[in-house]
Symmetry: C2
Subunit: 183 residues, 2 copies
DNA sequence: AAAGCCCTACCTATCGAGAGATAGCCATGG
DNA sequence: CCATGGCTATCTCTCGATAGGTAGGGCTTT
């Protein structure tokens, strides 16, 4: 992928994190990158294509990040809470999938499908790492919601308050998951 | 408030629940109600006005609903989990504040302020009903996130799975809160 | 009671801005 | 020499917003 294409995806992701699918335009992206809007169309024919590509890349990057962190810290709960905490404290603040997921019903089908894939990936990984399915759903929901609420009230401490109990009292995942990951 | 104004707010709320602030237009609302878009402007001069009014009303209605339910069921956790579950299973599916809150950074200030007020109201009420602040943040986050994730993956059972532990194991609120409410 | 008047609640018509998308031209480099 | 990756220019839509017109109900004044 060319530098420009990557820069376009970066700009699109940044704006999607703020305003979702309807929160950015080809012209804005083009201005961010320093090209013309028609050049954005060259790399991503339609807006749907661009958004879907951004989410697909984001899903892959998140999965990789989690894998890397699991090597350093074997408790998956701590890893996921910390990862989303990093998102909140980053410049872009929100997870794009949380933003898009909230208005999933109004998304182009390809984009909605990618967002769905993201959350499925998260849940699958949590279960694979040893959490019971319900607990995985709860953790994923709490983390996602904490992001939304912290964003809405503009107070990041909400995230830490909401996730505190998780990082404190939960048992670490069974050893087998960590072992499988290492071999 | 006139019938038409109420119908406009109803239509706006319905569309906001699906697509957020950028997910509806004056013309769509007008068509839903059966008037012209200029008539919508008559009742709500700007789009910001309309959206803020919708959220303000929604906040008040939610507070009233919770109060009513607390008379029947004294455990606030069960009441809130059930209330948002009702939202998910309603025709409109999402809480408008969850949708708008996710893209809070891109909202007109008056609208963002109303969304913030909604979440503050929720947290305040939970604390008032006897929950420790952190637990209130956690419950609110989990419920909100469960809505988002369930919506994104298009599977309502996620909500029940994510909130199951809350409704099962938590202690009911202290008696004083219920007593205060009754006097 | 009739005349005059204003306010409410719509309407038609239109504005300029910005959206996504397309057609076709041009420069560079393998 | 032609494919790649940009560009200019322009299309058609839709957006939020505004100007100005009108029907009719209710008020006051004579």
């Amino acid at each position: 992928m060319s530098d420009v294409a990557a820069a376009i995806m970066d700009a699109a992701e940044r704006r999607m994190r703020r305003g979702g699918f309807n929160g950015f335009s080809f012209r804005e992206i083009a201005a961010d990158v320093g090209v013309k809007s028609s050049s954005v169309h060259y790399h991503f024919p339609t807006k749907d294509d661009l958004a879907a590509a951004v989410i697909k890349r984001y899903t892959a990057e998140t999965a990789e990040l989690i894998e890397r962190e699991l090597v350093k810290e074997s408790n998956p709960i701590k890893v996921w809470v910390k990862a989303f905490r990093g998102t909140l404290h980053s410049q872009d603040r929100m997870c794009p999938c949380a933003v898009l997921g909230a208005s999933s019903q109004d998304l182009p089908p390809e984009v909605a499908a990618e967002v769905k894939r993201f959350f499925k990936m998260c849940h699958d990984k949590l279960v694979e790492e040893g959490l019971p399915p319900d607990e995985a759903s709860q953790l994923l929901s709490t983390i996602t919601g904490a992001l939304v609420v912290a964003n809405a009230v503009n107070d990041f401490s909400v995230y830490d308050n909401a996730t505190r109990e998780f990082t404190r009292s939960r048992k670490p995942a069974p050893v087998k998951a960590a072992a499988r990951r290492l071999k």
